[in-house]
Symmetry: C2
Subunit: 451 residues, 2 copies
């Protein structure tokens, strides 16, 4: 019976454990958790803070009982402090301050990511928060219950910043978003950026762009944001949502190699450079299916996939991570925005000759009630017509998410833009058109090339 130890009980760690037990039910699988929240959907925290989710316990993907029923041993509040590849042991500290040492045959590091902490002053003031783990969520929730803040300032305009602008507005707070650059949610491409601005403005969110924060200060009962533009910005609470970086401190001194942004280097079997030590999830570099290069792209979907591969291989399997396409979707108020594959500039950098078009179409036949417009951007290669990437923006309920998945499936299979018209897609007037908007956009792309 081989001993598999996993450090971390979030998406990657739990996926690895469950897959390992599935492939080899005899494996002895232990997870060391720094906290008491195994397998929580931390992506759900904004919806808990908005009030849409009333009980945080429902955020668990699985209950402790469900995990343990699969034969996985969960060690709560056991913070791993040291890995020794020579003696094949992990040392951890439990909640009582006691130290333990666990032998492993195979080890999976799934320590996730932590919030990036900017270096300006005031970051530790009461009322200033980060949002990554369950504890962060509880802190914000407690503060809102106890202090009844009426206004919030959000630093950063990535997914968490945008979802929290929605969440806190829903909660009744007056929200200001500060963006360092001239664009919100840069990862979705600039052409659709104005749609996010409009959606936020429509819901009363104030947006300040091109601003660098120099410090956060306490002024009376408020928090003031000192900034490069000398704009007076005050609020009752501040959320710092300026990104995430891999949590890899456990690897220090072990000889485990790190790369991009300090993430652990792994191959597609999720092996580190050290024999019998695997890593998966937000703490590792991610193989991009399309560019065939590594990147740092911490996403829950990827963590699940990588964890599954690591877990299978740690018990003798031969799985391979197929790679990410950078597929992402976000819901901000009533707007859903999604992307897959490469943006035009990324495609250029990857050596393609990208051509992009923007196409607008109704999500279903307009004669049937409730039709809403979809905005679709397609990027393809001028010479080969290979589909390189797509973005879609539309209303919640307009099947934006699964339409981007259709593009993702097409890109995964290296389809050309032209061949999208060959797909036999489903149609009924309340749900689409005889040519799905995805196909209409692909035909517009071909027309734009002059064919």
């Amino acid at each position: 019976m081989s001993a598999l130890v996993i450090i971390g009980g979030s998406d990657a760690g739990i996926s690895a454990a469950l897959r390992a037990k599935e492939v080899d039910p005899s494996a002895d699988v232990k997870i060391l958790l720094a906290n008491n929240f195994p397998n929580y959907s931390i992506c759900g925290l904004p919806f808990y803070l908005s009030g849409e989710v009333s009980d945080w316990r429902t955020l668990a993907h699985r209950t402790v009982e469900e995990i343990e029923k699969q034969g996985v041993h969960l060690l709560f509040s056991h913070t791993a402090t040291k890995v020794d590849p020579e003696s094949k042991t992990v040392t951890d500290l439990d909640a009582t301050g006691k130290t333990h040492t666990t032998k492993f045959d195979k080890l999976i590091i799934a320590t996730g990511a932590v919030s990036v902490r900017p270096s300006f002053a005031g970051i530790l003031l009461p009322g200033v928060f980060f949002l990554r783990w369950m504890d962060d969520g509880f802190s914000i929730h407690r503060y809102m219950i106890e202090h009844h803040p009426e206004s919030a300032i959000i630093l950063g305009s990535g997914y968490i910043g945008m979802e929290m602008a929605d969440a806190l507005t829903r909660r009744g707070l007056s929200v200001t978003v500060l963006a360092r650059s001239g664009r919100l949610l840069k990862t979705l491409g600039q052409e659709m950026g104005y749609l996010i601005d409009n959606e936020l403005l429509r819901h009363g969110v104030r947006i300040v762009k091109g601003i660098a924060v120099t410090s956060i200060e306490k002024t009376g009962k408020n928090l003031a944001i000192r900034n490069s533009q000398h704009i007076p910005i005050e609020g009752d609470m501040v959320l710092v949502a300026t990104g995430a970086r891999p949590e890899t401190s456990i690897g220090t001194g072990t000889g485990i190699l790190t790369g991009l942004q300090g993430a652990i280097r792994v191959n597609r079997a999720m092996e580190t450079n050290i024999q019998d030590i695997y890593a998966a999830g937000d703490c590792v570099e991610t193989w991009h299916h399309f560019t065939k290069k590594y990147t740092y792209l911490p996403l829950g979907t990827t963590a699940h996939k990588q964890g599954r591969v690591a877990g299978e291989n740690a018990v003798g399997g031969h799985a391979e991570f197929a790679g990410s396409l950078g597929t992402q979707v976000v819901k901000i108020f009533d707007l859903v925005m999604a992307r897959t594959g490469l943006l035009e500039n990324e495609a250029s950098e990857a050596g393609f000759d990208p051509v992009s078009i923007d196409h607008e179409a109704w999500d279903h036949k307009t004669y049937y009630p409730g039709a809403t417009p979809l905005r679709i951007r397609i990027t393809g290669d001028r010479r080969t017509h290979q589909l390189l990437g797509a973005q879609i923006a539309g209303c919640y309920g307009a099947e934006v998410s699964k339409r981007i998945d259709l593009f993702a499936t097409a890109i995964f299979n290296e389809m050309t833009v032209d061949s999208l018209s060959h797909l036999d897609l489903s149609y009924t007037p309340p749900l689409s058109s005889p040519w799905d908007p995805v196909q209409m956009a692909s035909q517009a792309w071909i027309k734009a090339l002059g064919r």
Copy 2:
């Protein structure tokens, strides 16, 4: 300037005309229409009759102006009566009874389908209707306005029968559905059949199965359905929705070959056996992308694709119809059901060794409001694991349609069931799970095989 004549102005005919003008703007393109309704979305008629669509004019995919602006000549109420391949002419009859003869260089037959007319007595009684073309829709609408029927009997349980059960119930009629077999909507596979039954029953529709109609009779002010089970069935109106057959009478005496159910035989360039004569849409046999055989499967999506290919080739192009996967979706009340690829029995007939599983999953994370269950059936080949087919049932709004399209895209690309887990699909808690239900179902399929 070559003369292209198209017989029929519904989906296939208009698609052909527009594509021909797109590829060769100099082409002289004429469409002979038997009626005055070019490019109408006849799939939308049930929604007009339900009252959800208030103005039938909105059913037009395009206006006459939009079509003519592309340089296409529309000849209204010109019913083609004869094609002469020797002299390359089409003869037609206009609304005034005048005969015309038009020369063509290339001809496209896009005459569509007509309702199957059962042979029992009473089929022509007032109050007995079919539903295929705009005129049929107008007749039903007029009857409802003038006679205020309170009850309706629907013969047949295909798409039109099911959509009309929904439509007439919405309209306030008491509806009875008579099915010849023991199952409703047989095309969707038997495993999910009970969901349709439940949805109809929940909305007060009466269902009688395993019944053969022997005649329709007028009894007082009602219509009575005499039947094999001697069940008393009466109603104020009757809709006969027992299927469609290809309308190919124009081919009689021309030497144009027909095949399955009398549909015109075409190759994948949409050419008939007669030089310079093409055919497309509900009047032709359809190439199945998967089985590599011809079938008869009249669908609007296919008509659009075939029309586009015929139009392109008629002006010198070299397009090929990629084939149908039999992808279909229907909305009945709040239930959406969809399929793509092969059902288990079809897969067996096609020489595969099919294994199917049924899997239930929530459309998105249950902690976010509004999650509804999806029922997914996957069929794959036991030996090669090739994905052969899928069916999904779920609520309207649960992205059933685009999830079936994801399967359709996977089948088109000959993916295995296993590889669905490699797809990088989009995730946010209001719209999916870290593994999309489609992927969870594929993992359940693999587990069922004992891997």
